[in-house]
């Protein structure tokens, strides 16, 4: 029982640049597999984390690579959580409606799709905002127990 509940924590801080997205996806995927997620689940978590980091890089830090992003992965054999923290200009994606694709086509819009993906891929997505001080997004996936 105790080993099941054992909490593992992994933290990294990296420059807020799209150049780092591939590395972040690789790290998160490896940790998700280690936690017991299936290959598909690990891919989904890595994609959701990419979307969350991309939002921070674009909207909170406006592509300023001197700003930093803190990423914490906390997992047990039952739950995999990724917390992404920045100190930039906050924006509240939870208030954004589900994208209307027809409208997107007419307006040649490119953004906003990632938030919908994050909500679809993860079990829980939540935000806390304190612009300029600390903004956080938490992504949670509950790990399906598989028969061995």
């Amino acid at each position: 029982m105790n080993s099941k509940r054992k909490k593992n924590t992994f933290r990294i801080r990296f420059p807020s640049s799209t150049e780092n997205l591939e590395t972040i996806r690789d790290i998160v995927k490896k940790l998700a597999l280690k936690a017991g997620c299936s290959g598909d689940e690990a891919d989904n978590i890595a994609l959701a984390v990419d979307e969350a980091c991309t939002n921070v890089i674009k909207h909170a830090h406006k592509f300023n690579a001197r700003r930093m992003i803190d990423l914490a992965v906390i997992y047990t054999s039952e739950k995999f959580e990724v917390i992404i923290t920045d100190k930039g200009k906050g924006f509240d994606p939870s208030k954004m409606p589900k994208p209307d694709l027809d409208k997107y086509v007419h307006e040649a819009r490119k953004g906003g799709l990632g938030i919908h993906l994050m909500k679809t891929l993860m079990d829980e997505v939540s935000y806390t905002f304190n612009p300029g001080v600390k903004n956080q997004v938490s992504l949670i996936k509950y790990i399906t127990v598989r028969d061995t």
Binding site: E51, A108, K110
Partner: protein
């Protein structure tokens, strides 16, 4: 690092863009540039072949959204082909199969373009 690459191959008035590697917020501008170049040359019949695309995020999907209306207004289209199951899943989650024609291979997409030109 496997990165990302776009290779272009023209077949008559149809241009085929082969995507390789990872299409994310970092690499999407290169795909965007490839589509811009085609538009500049007035080549609007486009097949995007994804057999070697390993990953796509919403930044990559956004590029398709940014160009499709202009291309269709010019009597062209972007047809998609050779998607892996993993890449298709992301397109599907956002409802893209309703907006884009998706084919198993380039030949089928090419035939569709040729059939539309003949009619």
């Amino acid at each position: 690092m496997s990165g990302f690459e776009v290779r272009r191959h023209d077949n008559g008035d149809v241009s085929i863009l082969h995507l390789h590697g990872f299409l994310d917020a970092h690499t999407a501008p290169r795909f965007e540039e490839a589509l811009q170049n085609l538009l500049r040359e007035e080549r609007v019949k486009i097949i995007v072949s994804m057999s070697e695309l390993d990953y796509i995020s919403s930044a990559g999907l956004g590029v398709f959204m940014g160009f499709i209306e202009e291309i269709r207004e010019k009597k062209g289209d972007i047809k998609l082909s050779n998607m892996s199951e993993k890449v298709f899943k992301v397109f599907d989650l956002l409802g893209f199969p309703c907006l884009y024609e998706i084919y198993d291979d380039e030949t089928a997409a090419l035939e569709k373009f040729n059939a539309s030109s003949a009619s």
